[in-house]
């Protein structure tokens, strides 16, 4: 288990070689980010269908969906027992488990991974809950950067209208744990404005591709196809070497 520096160095070299091999189609990671009600899931489904028709082997992973951690989070959310720190740490654990069990194995096998929400969701929501960005970002280390991040931008009003049109937002979705506003719809409006503010800062810092999610579904889909075709030729991010190397070492694939 103890990983000497030489094993990690070897694993980094192996990762670089694997992901920059010009003779094979490398794995790609595409993240869909944005507030609730921005239409990410609809676009993700359309994008997946199109990618499959283009011959890509596609794997989808959703936020808070690991079989190991999801039940733990679900039961605690049901009794409203989570503090912002616990909320953040449990979602971080769920993310880490999916990175190791789903995302990295699929990327290594040359597949295209679509992440319906990525670590930026954790950052935006946790900082909106008052946690320190630096602390939260480091929880997600070693960082795995997507090849492309599509950010679906909507105003807080549009998000609120779309979400509340069919249902009442739940306690944590509405941020009632931090706004202490009794009405979930009113609380959602306050909380989502904070989340969107954080997303907008992250979009600038991490160079997201912003999609105007107030456009029609068809317009957005065509824009995403175009942006993907331009963006998929980006070189492999050297920043990902640590995350891949650690995973290789744990799985005995360092050499």
């Amino acid at each position: 288990m103890l990983q000497p520096g030489s094993a990690l160095r070897l694993a980094r070299v192996r990762a670089r070689k694997h992901f920059t091999d010009p003779t094979s189609r490398r794995g790609l990671l595409v993240a869909f980010e944005g507030p609730d009600g921005s239409g990410k899931t609809t676009q993700r489904k359309l994008f997946k269908t199109w990618l499959k028709s283009e011959g890509y082997d596609v794997v989808t992973t959703k936020w808070n969906s690991s079989e190991l951690i999801k039940p733990i989070i679900k039961s605690r959310k049901a009794v409203r027992a989570l503090s912002p720190e616990e909320f953040s740490l449990l979602h971080g654990a769920d993310f880490r488990h999916r990175v190791e069990q789903i995302i990295l194995p699929a990327l290594w096998a040359g597949k295209l991974v679509i992440a319906d929400r990525f670590l930026f969701t954790g950052l935006a929501r946790d900082v909106a809950r008052g946690l320190d960005l630096d602390w939260v970002l480091k929880l997600y280390q070693p960082l795995l950067w997507p090849d492309l991040v599509f950010y679906f931008a909507v105003s807080p009003i549009t998000s609120g209208k779309r979400v509340t049109a069919t249902r009442t937002p739940n306690f944590y979705e509405a941020g009632q744990d931090v706004t202490h506003v009794e009405d979930p719809v009113e609380s959602y409006q306050h909380f989502i404005a904070r989340v969107i503010r954080e997303y907008e800062s992250l979009a600038l810092i991490f160079n997201f591709i912003t999609v105007d999610a107030e456009q029609s579904i068809g317009e957005q889909h065509h824009q995403i196809r175009q942006l993907f075709l331009e963006g998929q030729r980006r070189p492999w991010s050297e920043w990902n070497a640590d995350a891949v190397a650690e995973w290789l070492c744990r799985n005995g694939k360092a050499r």
Binding site: M1, E67, R76, E86, L89, A93
Partner: protein, 189 residues
């Protein structure tokens, strides 16, 4: 009569039974306090019932869960007791988790950041084991996670991690002991 000062005492060690025994001794001394055990939130208990298909968690995942559990303990057990002026014994606290993480190859910087939210204990006690003792059957947090983590089912891996974590804790204990010893005045030649 002056009111005793509330204190947080951390009892660290890889062997659960030794940690509990040391924690009990610590709370029996006046002023009597309470013990905050690991997994008060039940997250690790919930891991036990997870399906095999869910996959084995890595040390980082397990440490994130331990930190979530510690945040729960701080909120519901440790901070309220300190606010009431009582002594609390955290068994274990931060150092054991850090030792496990280091032994499992997790970088120290990540571990230090992870537990940044936890206040420093007023006193640390160590329930470590002799280096030569067999550690194949330790219980408590370290034994639990070593048995469940990726690669932990290979007896040698978990045995090595437990041994390394124990050695790290022994080193911390000896550093603490040295820092408590009064300094000898320097002799003039």
């Amino acid at each position: 009569m002056t009111r005793p000062k509330p204190r947080l005492i951390a009892v660290e060690g890889v062997d659960g039974a030794s940690v509990i025994a040391a924690a009990r001794r610590a709370v029996e001394a006046p002023p009597r306090g309470g013990i905050s055990h690991w997994d008060a939130s039940g997250v690790f208990q919930d891991l036990v019932v997870a399906e095999e298909a869910a996959g084995k968690p890595s040390p980082r995942t397990l440490l994130l869960l331990y930190a979530a559990d510690l945040a729960f303990r701080l909120r519901w057990e440790i901070r309220p007791a300190l606010a009431e002026g009582r002594t609390v014994v955290a068994a274990p606290y931060v150092e054991t988790a850090i030792a496990f993480g280091r032994a499992a190859g997790v970088p120290a910087g990540w571990l230090i950041n992870l537990f940044r939210f936890a206040p420093r204990a007023a006193e640390r006690r160590f329930a470590t084991m002799p280096l030569r003792r067999s550690m194949s059957h330790v219980d408590g947090f370290v034994g639990f996670v070593c048995a469940r983590m990726e690669g932990g089912t290979e007896g040698r891996t978990s045995h090595r991690v437990i041994k390394a974590a124990n050695a790290l804790l022994r080193r911390s204990a000896s550093r603490d002991m040295k820092s408590r010893q009064p300094r000898q005045p320097k002799r003039r030649g």
